[in-house]
Symmetry: C2
Subunit: 368 residues, 2 copies
């Protein structure tokens, strides 16, 4: 099995267009979450590439991003070829993004395996993660199907989509590999009661947003499910690598309808598989999540930078410059950056994006 | 009565040596509370002088301070003669401070009336305040006694000292002026239960720390109760206004024992009177007190500067530069200054001084 996998040409497509508004004020349009060092050494996108080492070479890494982030990404990933940094003129959700990346790879390896990864996830057990991606690549190769990575759920999380798998008896084209299942259905983010049921049922996994398939497979599936998008992508194909491309892309993206790969393709496709993963995955969706994973002192505080804490416990405080002193406060997330201070009650950090919405409405662009 | 008062020569002695550590990070050693605009226009010391207008002329205002604050005070009070700014080499509590100021006035008006005022109190009803000071001056003149201003208590405050007055029947040298009483005893800051009893008894007032007496009276009382301090002051007397004075003061202050005027003189003296005042007094002892008096929006927030509040109520937020965004937080006091950020739970602001203690211990002098 290992021998076979090593022969497969595998490409990574890293989706790095987000602004990470839940991570304001550290995350900004020009310097979003994936370009930050949130944990330890290296930015999130650097670690996303680094952990593929030995499985996908950096020359086979493609990054889809936007104009604002392009230069920073080139700087942060010096070994990824500049021509592999694909710049969308505007964000149109994941289906166009993935289709565009597929076009780029299709030029020289139409049967290549694409591993699609968000740029801003945390992986605790990297060897296990690579093993899962290898299995998924094998499944994608054998079945010519769409493969997604499903995370074994540990609690009734309402912040993720879920994937329900078929019972072995229901499977129509079973793959006899341990931990690989046919998908029965995709479920949107549930409410709490539903999430509890999902967890109890045992046949639901968290949708990690990581996908594996062959280039020809995904382009065919886009053709079937999103024919308009497919035609738009085909219109672009001939100009890739020519001086016409940028203008062509700009015009085409102006017409493209934004749609997610889950909703636009995965939910409609026939051969969709899940490889079950359990490798310390975290999508780091909010400051609360960062706090949960952060180291703490005896008072339950995580203090980064010059900080004085008086009668205060269970706070996550990060300051880049000024000294921060807290007195008698518990359960706060405090983030101080060179131009902004954010103070959030623990548990409310999903609402940090409301600050960003407010800044947009008021056109306070210097803080976006 | 008015005619008589206008004939009295009255001097103000403003005690402005404090560092206001409960008002960190706005209050600093070089720029303490009394030199800040905490409410509305003008700094606290400017307003302390301004509200005396028509009663005490600025040329008759004396300020006792320290080296760090001297220049700022000269700048803030341009109409107070520079020679009236008295600089203590080191703080020795209120008795030496008041004794030193008395010496200065004694040189040209030994029978003058001294009104001793802290530099950092808030007065809501200024005409009533002046009326009370006029009454107190009259009592000081008539009785040759020590007069203190007692505030009618509105709640069982544990942060103030209290003054108990004699029943009219107990009075030995009654002054037949409404609202003027002989003092029975001074009480330290009480615990809550005692404060409740004080409030119920009806014969206790808050000790405002404002005093009125003749120069000769206070020097005599210091002589009686603190003979060592009196001798030390007398040693200074001959050199005031000469080039020897600074060195003399430095040497003398090195030997002086710190003691409060309350403990050292008032509690031991015979003829001590209270004039009862009710003029919207507030000693502005903490950020909580500032918050109580501040204007609020519909969510109960007081927001000064660039601030975004999401699902947050009853906060006091003051920012001098960076934008501050709060999410889901209630009952906080947030102060952002050019080099420091302080976040305090409402009700805990007495402990802000612990930050200053910590900074001192760690010799982080740039933040003091």
């Amino acid at each position: 099995m290992n021998n076979m996998e090593q022969q497969l040409p595998v490409y990574a497509v890293i989706m790095a267009g987000g602004v990470g508004s839940r991570f304001w004020p550290r995350s900004r349009e020009k310097n979003p979450k994936q370009l930050l060092e949130i944990f330890g050494d290296g930015t999130m996108i650097q670690n996303t590439v680094k952990r593929l080492k030995g499985f996908i070479e950096e020359r086979n890494v493609f990054v889809v991003t936007n104009k604002l982030q392009k230069n920073a990404i080139i700087k942060q990933l010096p070994n990824v070829p500049v021509e592999n940094i694909i710049v969308e003129p505007v964000g149109r959700n994941t289906a166009p993004c993935i289709g565009l990346a597929a076009l780029f790879i299709d030029r020289f390896d139409p049967k290549g395996i694409m591993v699609v990864l968000p740029a801003d996830h945390l992986i605790g057990n990297e060897p296990e993660f690579i093993r899962i991606l290898q299995t998924a690549s094998q499944v994608a190769q054998i079945t010519s199907g769409l493969v997604t990575i499903g995370i074994h759920p540990t609690h009734p999380e309402t912040g993720y989509g879920y994937i329900q798998v078929k019972d072995r008896s229901e499977e129509t084209q079973p793959v006899n590999i341990d931990g690989v299942f046919e998908v029965k259905t995709f479920a949107e983010k549930p409410n709490y009661a539903t999430a509890v049921k999902f967890l109890e049922s045992g046949d639901f996994f968290w949708n990690s947003g990581m996908f594996v398939w062959r280039v020809d497979t995904i382009l065919n599936e886009v053709h079937k499910s999103l024919p308009e998008l497919h035609a738009q992508l085909m219109n672009l194909q001939h100009s890739i690598g020519t001086p016409l491309f940028d203008q062509n892309l700009e015009t085409t993206y102006g017409l493209i309808r934004g749609i997610s790969i889950d909703y636009g393709v995965m939910e409609k496709a026939q051969r969709v598989y899940v490889v079950k993963g359990d490798f310390g995955w975290n999508d780091l969706g909010s400051w609360d999540e960062v706090n949960r994973l952060a180291s703490k002192d005896e008072q339950g505080n995580h203090l980064h930078g010059k900080i004085i804490a008086v009668n205060s416990k269970n706070n996550y405080i990060h300051t880049s410059d000024k000294i921060v002193a807290v007195v008698g406060v518990d359960d706060l997330i405090v983030i101080n950056t060179p131009d902004a201070i954010m103070i959030c009650k623990k548990g409310a950090s999903q609402d940090v994006k409301e600050i960003v919405d407010h800044l947009k409405r008021k056109q306070m662009n210097e803080y976006l």
